[in-house]
């Protein structure tokens, strides 16, 4: 004989029969799932920022002594012309080589004289830079001339100020002088988007430096990053190393692995805490409804059908909470800029995040309801009917 389940509407009506308890449970579950969304959005945002920062056709050449940190690199200024002249695989169009000499520094940047300076990333570039950094798009203003800088869209988050402080015409102060903001750019969420760009020569003069941090090379079709790598290893006297830009940012992903692991651990802990909260609520619901559950059995519903109805109620609440949390996360969390060592990145509530968040919500409902449902199976019908 097939199992006769309680009507679907019975479980839904039960949710609304105890509005306060249901609302509190919904609120608790929504908070738990929202926390999961925030942590997953952090991890996904960090991963996406590093993943989109690299271009497979770009090779970074910097000092051997800098290990994996470009900020510590110092190479001779002639490196750019030497690489362009020595390597066959560098892309060239309209007599222009895809070679971008850059000076990359971390420095204290003041937005407002009344507030303390914040650590910002400044990149001195030439007009060759946009040829290689294809994600970069100017959204406002013009390319910087003398005494001017371009700012990334996420710079406000990096410097801890409001975007209005970085409007065109405003002034930034770093390395002992003022710089007027001439324009803004986006970079599709890449690390560049939280940087300040200015003219290479002007930055060198300001810092009294003649060297470069790196040279970025755009590869022609058919050329391989290993050709540049081989050249750098053969020219021992230059003390250069070459790394494909995607490999460079992939290595940074490894560097941030502990942060990501910690994030996943937080997701797990939040989920387990949510399961215990759900258990507590559902145990309370079962205990207060012993008489009702026994009556259902007395009129012919089998214990398994009653247990299934309890699980259905919990899942209804959990999934409603998941959807609510997803809406809040998409509206308030998605796109929020977060500062980190290399710059800033936007929290990302993407399809994977929604799947993990809603999946966690589903597990909260299911695992939180199974033990109380099993408990309900153990009641004696006679004693249950006599219960107050």
């Amino acid at each position: 004989m097939p199992l006769r389940l309680l009507p679907w509407e019975y479980g839904i009506r039960n949710v609304f029969r105890r509005p306060t308890r249901s609302a509190l449970t919904l609120l608790g579950l929504t908070t738990v799932v929202l926390l999961v969304f925030v942590v997953v959005a952090f991890i996904r945002g960090l991963e996406a920022s590093l993943a989109v920062s690299g271009d497979p056709n770009v090779v970074l050449v910097y000092s051997v002594g800098a290990a994996a940190d470009i900020e510590n690199s110092a190479i001779p200024a002639r490196s750019a012309s030497l690489l362009a002249a020595s390597l066959q695989g560098v892309d060239r169009r309209f007599a222009l080589s895809y070679v971008s000499p850059e000076l990359y520094i971390g420095t204290r940047v003041t937005v407002d004289q009344d507030r303390p300076a914040s650590l910002g990333i400044v990149r001195g570039v030439t007009t060759a830079a946009p040829l290689l950094r294809r994600q970069v798009q100017m959204i406002e203003g013009k390319w910087p001339t003398s005494g001017e800088v371009l700012v990334g869209r996420l710079l406000a988050a990096k410097l801890g100020c409001v975007p209005q402080d970085l409007a065109i015409g405003n002034t930034l102060h770093f390395d002992g002088r003022d710089w007027r903001i001439s324009g803004q750019f986006t970079a599709g969420g890449a690390a560049f988007e939280s940087e300040i760009w200015c003219g290479l020569e002007e930055l060198q003069q300001t810092l009294k430096r003649q060297d470069l941090s790196l040279v970025a090379l755009g590869l022609a079709e058919g050329a391989a990053a290993s050709d540049v790598e081989l050249f750098c290893k053969e020219r021992v006297d230059l003390e250069l190393q070459a790394v494909g830009e995607t490999n460079y940012y992939a290595a940074l992903q490894t560097h941030y692995q502990p942060v990501r692991m910690l994030g996943w651990l937080v997701v797990l802990l939040v989920a387990v805490a949510g399961i215990f909260a759900g258990l507590n609520t559902m145990y309370g619901a079962v205990v207060s409804r012993v008489r009702e559950l026994s009556t259902l059995q007395a009129i012919g519903f089998r214990r398994r059908a009653v247990a299934a109805s309890l699980i259905q109620e919990a899942l209804l609440l959990a999934m409603a909470a998941s959807l609510l949390a997803a809406v809040i996360a998409l509206g308030l969390v998605n796109g929020t800029a977060v500062r980190f060592t290399m710059g800033a990145f936007a929290l990302r509530v993407d399809s994977v995040g929604i799947l993990i968040g809603c999946g966690t919500g589903f597990l909260l409902g299911l695992l939180g309801a199974i033990p109380p449902a099993i408990k309900s199976l153990r009641f004696s019908i006679v004693e249950g009917l006599k219960a107050a």
Binding site: E229, K233, E234, V236, T254, A271
Partner: protein, 171 residues
């Protein structure tokens, strides 16, 4: 309680397992030479091997050369996708275990000495082109391994020495 703990611990183990199984190295592991590489592996040690330092001093353009050294000189001494690597003079010692260095073949304790004790070795075909296969999978060699390399010396205009290798003996 077990009903709760079992799924939770499973989830935890799954997360640890899936997040920890990434392998960042694209380089092949290198144990036995490939069919192409076997032609380059010598059965006996070539005579007259000199150290890298001596070779850097004395080697003349296009002369036959035999050097002995260890694969190393950087965390990644290889050139991805090409049969090329850097070889370091045996006078330099890899970082001792007591330093806790995860890659002792990078000689991070003697970085200053490396430029004058390291040479690039490229395995080339009959046309003199570097073989487009990772040296690990071509020759079955790995970091810190002691090799005797036979080939021809090639100097660039600034005096940097490379060895266009045609044979290797693994010591």
């Amino acid at each position: 309680m077990l009903h709760i703990l079992r799924p939770a611990s499973f989830l935890f183990l799954a997360l640890i397992t899936f997040s920890g199984c990434g392998n960042n190295s694209n380089a092949p592991s290198g144990q036995t030479p490939s069919a192409t590489g076997a032609a380059y592996v010598l059965k006996s040690e070539p005579s007259g091997a000199q150290g890298i330092k001596a070779a850097l001093e004395a080697a003349k353009e296009n002369n036959e050369i035999v050097v002995v050294g260890r694969i190393g000189g950087a965390v990644n001494p290889w050139v991805d996708g090409q049969a090329a690597f850097t070889l370091v003079d045996l006078e330099l010692k890899p970082c001792p275990d007591s330093e806790g260095c995860p890659s002792p073949w990078d000689y991070c304790c003697d970085v200053d000495l490396l430029p004058k004790a390291m040479v690039m070795v490229k395995f080339v075909d009959a046309q003199g082109k570097t073989i487009p296969q990772h040296a690990k999978s071509l020759l079955g060699v790995k970091e810190s391994q002691m090799l005797v390399v036979h080939g021809r010396a090639k100097r660039d205009e600034t005096g940097n020495l490379s060895i266009l290798a045609d044979g290797v003996f693994v010591k």
